[in-house]
Subunit: 516 residues, 2 copies
Amino acid sequence: MNGAQALIRTLVGAGVDVCFANPGTSEMHFVAALDDVPEMRGVLTLFEGVATGAADGYARMAGRPAATLLHLGPGLGNGLANLHNARRARTPLVNVVGDHARSHKRLDAPLESDIDALAGTVSGWVRRSLAPADVAADAADAVAAAASAPGSIATLVLPADVSWEDGAAVADPVLARPAPRVAPSVVEDVAAVLASGEPTVLFLGGDTVGEEGLLAAGELAAGTGARLMTETFPARTARGAGLPDVTRLPYPPEMAIAALEGTAHLVLAGATSPVHFFGYPGVPGHPVPEGCTVHVLSRPGEDGVAALRALAALAAPEAKADLLESSRPELPTGELTPRTMNAVIGALLPENAIVVDEALTSGVGLMELTSGAPRHDWLALTGGAIGDGLPMALGAAVACPDRPVIGIQADGSAMYTISALWSYAREQLDITTIICDNGSYAILEHELSRVGAQGDGDRAAKLLDLGAPNLDFVALATGMGVPATRATTADELADQLGRALAEPGPHVVVAVLRES
Amino acid sequence: MNGAQALIRTLVGAGVDVCFANPGTSEMHFVAALDDVPEMRGVLTLFEGVATGAADGYARMAGRPAATLLHLGPGLGNGLANLHNARRARTPLVNVVGDHARSHKRLDAPLESDIDALAGTVSGWVRRSLAPADVAADAADAVAAAASAPGSIATLVLPADVSWEDGAAVADPVLARPAPRVAPSVVEDVAAVLASGEPTVLFLGGDTVGEEGLLAAGELAAGTGARLMTETFPARTARGAGLPDVTRLPYPPEMAIAALEGTAHLVLAGATSPVHFFGYPGVPGHPVPEGCTVHVLSRPGEDGVAALRALAALAAPEAKADLLESSRPELPTGELTPRTMNAVIGALLPENAIVVDEALTSGVGLMELTSGAPRHDWLALTGGAIGDGLPMALGAAVACPDRPVIGIQADGSAMYTISALWSYAREQLDITTIICDNGSYAILEHELSRVGAQGDGDRAAKLLDLGAPNLDFVALATGMGVPATRATTADELADQLGRALAEPGPHVVVAVLRES
């Protein structure tokens, strides 16, 4: 058995049976070994950022890591932005990065670069396999490292000859480190805070924004008067009718500050204490009010759900959570604005959907307008590196083939990883992508004024404008094998989205937006 | 004057007046400052790999650095693959990477990452500007570091508040370190080797494959019998009628080994000793025959042209170089194969063209079929990280607006940076792109067999196949504002390429290739 075969069999044995791949020469034995191990599903992507973003989306939905297969330093480089997002999501993920054969390494061949240094910037675990006899154990360790709470990126560097040489054997899975329980004394301390009657926000993120955590949080809100709020961009949030109404900390600093105003106690459950995405002249770096005390119920990687349940049993034993009733906005008609677009989405969102949200500025009202929709899961742009939406939807659809995936995708951001659409078509996945076509980097137009920059001239404006020429996303999608339509009114969007959702397979609906 | 204004004015003063940009929030003051400094041309790209590849192509043609503007670690990550190619080309290039404001840095905001570590993997020079008073001097140092022989990547990390705070002033340019002369004794030693009469190859690369170096090398070949050969992928080669005929070291190891067989002396002029791109089972790592002595006339960064001229004066004082006469292949008709495609290109290549070659396997015969064409320059994939061709053509066209740019672009590789086409349209550049549409990662199909992998099953094959669905490059190009046509015969290609070359502005011609 060669190294590649042992590696793939070990991955499969440890529960990693999907590999999002963009291979090159040094990965050819890994590719060949896929023929020997049919349990491993290889999904081809045309760009490494699609592979890494897909692995992120996959693990957020499947709850276990996928592998990526990347080609040396440049391949890892192309995948870094979405690995950054995965790192911020604490997604378990195993990168296999091919490298030169060991004997070739010292020759400084054209593709030689410092893979280990690159990998270190996004990985919680990096190892270079040194021999075929080691590679299976290395792979088992990689999966355990990735899957250990709270989840992280494990990068295994695989020299080509370690892959092609014989003398390898399959290794047993290694147990991942589970999330440790929170100490009862910590729960008691937080219960005392909640009992104080002072204005308290229970700030949720990480593992606590799934159904179980939210239901416990809902009991706490009902029983203690604490307000519930989540991180701005949680990795995966359970949402919809039957769950408590939880607001999200807004992205814009002034709105985030307003949202936490008057809070005396901020209790963190699975989340870290919030900070603004960027620093701005004359604005503090975080929205926590002066004098507010920050308490930690559970850190990322601890068992926040169990802590919330213990806390609810202690602090709100009799409480019943207020749960959202089923409600949808009416289907709007007329002009297509971010708000009417989001009302259409709220009106039509199917049962059990997975929503991948990279709407950015076009997301105005999106959360409110979908809050009473049927139960769904929501994946957000955790790390702020745009271009994650299309790939995450790919991974989510591979993880959950029986659930509809809805991508809500800003136009500028879509262009970073647009070739994900080809993989949708190749795999015939049930993904409906709404492209929010406003013809600009609208978020940057907002930011330009927010940072106090002048930039009112033509030359600055030209760097934020996506017109001249306009991007024709219908042509781009159909050019990659995904049927696409263009909507210029709310009525057209409702019609086209309805039909796209009703048909299996991938669809793109381009929403041509006027300023709201 | 704020930091951004001083930075841009200093760059312009040092001769850096083009910036390929993909900005985000932390770069908004840089963007705003473009309105104050009209001498700096900002060119928007939709993806950072386009910006970095364009800066590479620009500097290869302009002979001086362009700047890039990138957004924190993820933006730099997206640009890394083409920075890798630029590093291997020894291209002078100045990255400006925005970062969080200094006060925000310690907060571990979502976009926080180790920019400095990333930058170190591709840069010869990295600095973080610490205050507005420093930024101009930092910029002047960056340009000098980039432009110092042999050319390298300088990365300046620019905190947002260093950009927006006042108190900065413009700095004077700093002199770049010129290429040192080669010692006369080294030239004399090599002259003695050439006088030995033993089989000698003069192996050219870096600065020696421009017109002057090649003409001196041609005299040496004529006067001493030495064979001339270049690196496999030189950064920029002068080619065409009126220059000596110089073969290129082939890419495939077996062909490279055959090309150097029987060589007793390998004299390096501006090139390093050749190694294969990859290691293969049972194949030595380089093509230099056993017993062949390697001599260094000039190292990269030394003045190789002067060394060659001194060597020619010493070793071949009376010799006249054999120069290629003007010749073109006949326009082929019938089936469109890589060979007939390349004959069409050879027949129609315009005077003074810049050819950007990422044809990969479709490049069969391309060098021979263009060798007698009118004088042109040839840019190659120096670092082997695919996806450089479309961006390099963008940069070359910005550098040389009066010269036609011809991109010969493999289909799979095109998809890494396809949004470059939008920037072609935005800037209305005279770039004609031929997409070599063979529907597969053909080079990997070759490599799969070369590495001795089995991989004859469907699952491996599916990871190398770009069909199902087919990529419609006409739709992709027109969707980004570039007129495009599709050729399925040699006649159609000749017709469409002729028309594209005759019209100003960008054009895409898709060559649908059958196996040759």
